[in-house]
Point group: C2
Chain length 404, copies 2
C-alpha cells in the first residue's frame, strides 16, 4: 500500500552526493515513512496508482523537492532583541550595545531565567515558522546557558521539542559559545572540559559539540582542547570558524575531521583546500552577512572546488530568520549561487553537515519521506520569487504536516 | 455600531505627514469602512466596547499598523523569466540575454499574446501574494504592450482586477517603458504622444503616466515631451529616474512637479534638493538592487533632508517579489533605514507617492479602515524577523480579507 503519492509534478528535484537532477513530469511514492519510488510519472504510477494511495497530492505545475535541512541554528532562546536591531540602525555599535547590557549576554540572562517549558514553547513557535518555510530537519545548538545547569536545560528543551514537533531536531552542545562575565576564556574552557562535557555526555542528548573560534572569544588552541575532549566523549566536532577574522579555525576543523566548519567568510585558499582534503563540509550562513550588512562568504570558492557546500539560517536573536527558503534566496541573489547549487546546499549537502547524508535531504528510494511541494513552475523560480515563500505543502515521513 | 474593533494591541503604529507615533496598549475602531477612533485601549473601548462590535480582533502582544501601500509595481504581465535569473547567476550578461530573445521584450511578446482574462488571472494571483504580505493598495503600471491595443488591454486588466480583488489598484500608463524593436526612441515617443496618450485618456482608466528616463532608453527631452503631453491630458507625471546613470530625470521630475521620482540610485545632492524643493516624493526600490546585486539607493540622503521618502517593491518579471514587508526588511537590513522610517515609507509616504496622502497609509479618524495585525511585540520586530512574514491579519475597508 502506497501511503503517499505526490504525482504529476512539473519537476521533481533529486539532489545527492554527485550533484542534482531534475525529473520533468515526475512522481514520488512514499511507504512506511520512506521514499520507495521517484521518477517519470508514467513509470511510478504503473506500480503506485494514485487511486490506491492513502494520500495523493496532485503537484501539476509545481516543483517537488526534498525537505530543507537547516544544519546551523541557535533556535532555542528567550527574549527579543529587536530593540537592539533598531539601535544598530540608528548608529549604535556592538560595543555600545554590550555596554548597555545587550548582545549575547542579554540572551544568556533571559535563558538562565527561563523555565524548561518556556524554552520548549519558544522553540516550538519557531519550529512552526521553520516548517512553513520547508525545513523538515534542523540542528539546534545550546550555548546561551554557559553553565552546566542551563546548558543541560537547553538540550532538554531541544529533546522535548523534537518529541512534540514534526521538525526533527539534531542537538548540539555549544557551551563554548561566549566567555561568561567574571571569568576568562582559558578558565572557562577548563570548566567546559571538566564539568560541562561530562554532564552533557551523561545527559545523553547532544550529538555534536560546537565552539566559537574567533579572535577575542576562543583561540584555536582553546577550541582544540574543547573539541578534542568532546570527540573523546563521542560528541562529533563542529566549529564556528573564520567569521570576522582569520584565526586558523578552518585548519583546526580539517585536523580534527570535524563534521562541518561554519561561517568561513575570511577563509583563504589554503583553508578551502584543507577542508576539502579532510572532507569537512563547509556551511555558509548568508543571513548573518545580510543582517550585519557585510560581504557574503565566497561561495564560488567552495563550489568551484567541487566541495559539498551547505547553507544554513544561523537563526538566533542576532540573525532572526527561521527560513531556509530565504537562506537559499540570499545565496542566489547575494552570493550569486546557481539555484541548483543552492538547492543542493539546503538539502543533500546540509544533511551531510549533520552526518545524515544518506538518509535525508534527498529524494531516492530508501531516503526519508520528507518533501516539499513548491508553487513554482521550475526549481529556479523558488529563489527567483524572492521575499515570499513558494512552499505550499510540507511532508514529513510521508505525512502532510503543513499545508498553506 | 462599530463594524470592527482591533483591541488591546501591544502597539498601534500611526504614521503621518509629520512622522510616526506608536501608541502602547492601543485599539482601533472602524465604522463604514473608515477609522473612527485610534488611541489607548481604555479611551477607545469606552466609546466602542468590544461586545458591541460586529467583529472584534484581540491583538494582545501584537502590532497594529496601516495596510502597506505599494506605489510602484509592474504587476500585470505574462510569462515567467526564472530561467533568465538562473542564466544570469551562471554568468550571462544582460546583453546576452537580450540577444537570445530574453529580457523585457520577451515579456512584451508574452503580454501581446495574452488575453485580457489571462492578464487578469495572473494579476489576481500576484495580488493574493501581495495581500498576504500586507499590501492593501498598489499602483500597477502598463508598459509591456508598447502599442495602443496592448497598453489599453493591460490597463483594462488592472481595472478588472481592481474590481475583483480586495487590494485597491491605482492604474498608471507606461507606454514609454522601452523602445519597441523596429523603431527608435524619438519615433516611438511621437507615437506615444500622438496615439497612445489620447487612447488612454479616452479609455479613462489610467491616473498616472510614467516613463523610463535612462541612458539608452528615453532621454530627458523625450521624457519631458511624454510627461508634458500626459499632464496636459490630466495624467499625473511619474518618472523612473537616475537608476543606472544620472541623466537629469530627477530635475525633470522637479520641473514638472511629478507625483514621484523613482529609483534615484545615482541622484546627486542637487537632485535631492530639487526634488525636496518641488515636493516630489522620492520612491526607493531596494528589491531591484537586491536582485541585481548592486548598491542600494542612498536612503539616508533623503531621510536626513526630512523628505517623505517612500518604498516600493518594483514587482516585475525582473524583480520578482510581491512583498512590501520584504521591501521594508531590505530597507532596514540593506539600506540601514530605521524601522520607524521604513514603516512610514511603506505607508503614509507611499500613499503620498500616489496622491492618496490623506486617505490611506495612516491610522487616524477619517482614514480608510485598511490595517494589519502583525505577530510582533513591537514595530522593529517586523523587519528584525527577516525573510519570513509577520503579517497575520489584513483588514481592508473594515473587513478582514486575509487571515493566516
Amino acid at each position: 500500500m502506497t501511503d503517499l503519492l505526490v504525482h504529476d509534478a512539473a519537476q521533481v528535484v533529486t539532489p545527492d552526493d554527485g550533484g542534482i537532477e531534475t525529473v520533468p513530469a515526475g512522481t514520488v511514492a512514499v511507504e512506511d515513512g520512506a521514499v520507495v519510488a521517484v521518477g517519470p510519472t508514467d513509470e511510478v504510477v504503473s506500480d503506485h496508482p494514485p487511486g490506491a494511495a492513502s494520500t495523493a497530492i496532485d503537484a501539476s505545475g509545481k516543483v517537488v523537492l526534498p525537505g530543507f535541512v537547516d544544519p546551523h541554528t541557535h533556535a532555542v532562546f528567550a527574549g527579543d532583541r529587536s530593540d537592539e536591531f533598531a539601535a544598530k540602525l540608528r548608529g549604535a555599535d556592538y560595543q555600545e550595545i554590550l555596554e548597555s547590557g545587550g548582545g549575547i549576554h542579554r540572551t544568556v540572562r533571559a535563558v538562565r531565567e527561563a523555565s524548561l517549558e518556556t524554552l520548549v514553547s519558544n522553540l516550538l513557535d519557531h519550529l512552526d515558522v521553520m516548517l512553513a518555510h520547508g525545513t523538515t530537519t534542523a540542528e539546534v545548538k545550546s550555548g546561551y546557558g554557559l553553565d552546566v545547569e542551563t546548558e543541560l536545560r537547553m538540550l532538554a528543551a531541544i529533546d522535548e521539542a523534537d518529541d512534540r514537533h514534526p521538525v526533527d531536531l539534531i542537538p548540539t552542545f555549544m557551551g563554548p559559545h561566549a566567555v561568561p562575565p567574571g571569568t576568562d576564556a582559558e578558565e572557562y574552557v577548563d570548566r567546559v572540559v571538566a564539568a560541562q562535557i561530562p554532564a552533557v555526555v551523561d545527559q545523553g542528548i547532544a550529538e555534536f559539540c560546537d565552539v566559537f573560534c574567533e579572535a577575542g572569544v576562543f583561540s584555536v588552541e582553546q577550541s582544540r582542547r574543547v573539541l578534542t575532549a568532546a570527540a573523546g566523549a563521542d560528541l562529533t566536532p563542529k566549529i564556528h570558524a573564520e567569521e570576522f577574522e582569520r584565526t586558523g579555525g578552518a585548519q583546526l576543523a580539517a585536523d580534527l575531521g570535524a563534521a562541518s566548519a561554519d561561517h568561513l567568510l575570511q577563509a583563504t585558499d589554503e583553508d578551502v583546500a584543507a577542508l576539502d582534503e579532510a572532507g569537512v563540509t563547509p556551511v555558509l550562513l548568508p543571513g548573518t552577512a545580510f543582517t550585519l550588512a557585510t560581504d557574503y562568504a565566497d561561495a564560488a570558492a567552495f563550489v568551484d572546488a567541487g566541495m559539498p557546500v551547505a547553507l544554513a539560517t544561523d537563526f538566533n536573536p542576532n540573525c532572526c530568520s527561521e527560513s531556509m527558503e530565504f537562506a537559499m534566496e540570499l545565496a542566489c541573489h547575494g552570493m550569486r549561487m546557481d539555484p541548483a547549487a543552492a538547492l543542493r546546499a539546503t538539502t543533500a549537502n546540509a544533511a551531510r553537515a549533520v552526518d545524515r547524508g544518506r538518509s535525508i535531504g534527498r529524494l531516492a528510494a530508501g531516503a526519508a519521506g520528507d518533501l516539499l511541494v513548491a508553487d513554482a513552475p521550475e526549481l529556479a523560480h523558488i529563489p527567483y520569487n524572492f521575499g515570499v515563500s513558494t512552499v505550499e505543502t510540507v511532508v514529513k515521513g510521508g505525512e502532510v504536516v503543513y499545508s498553506e
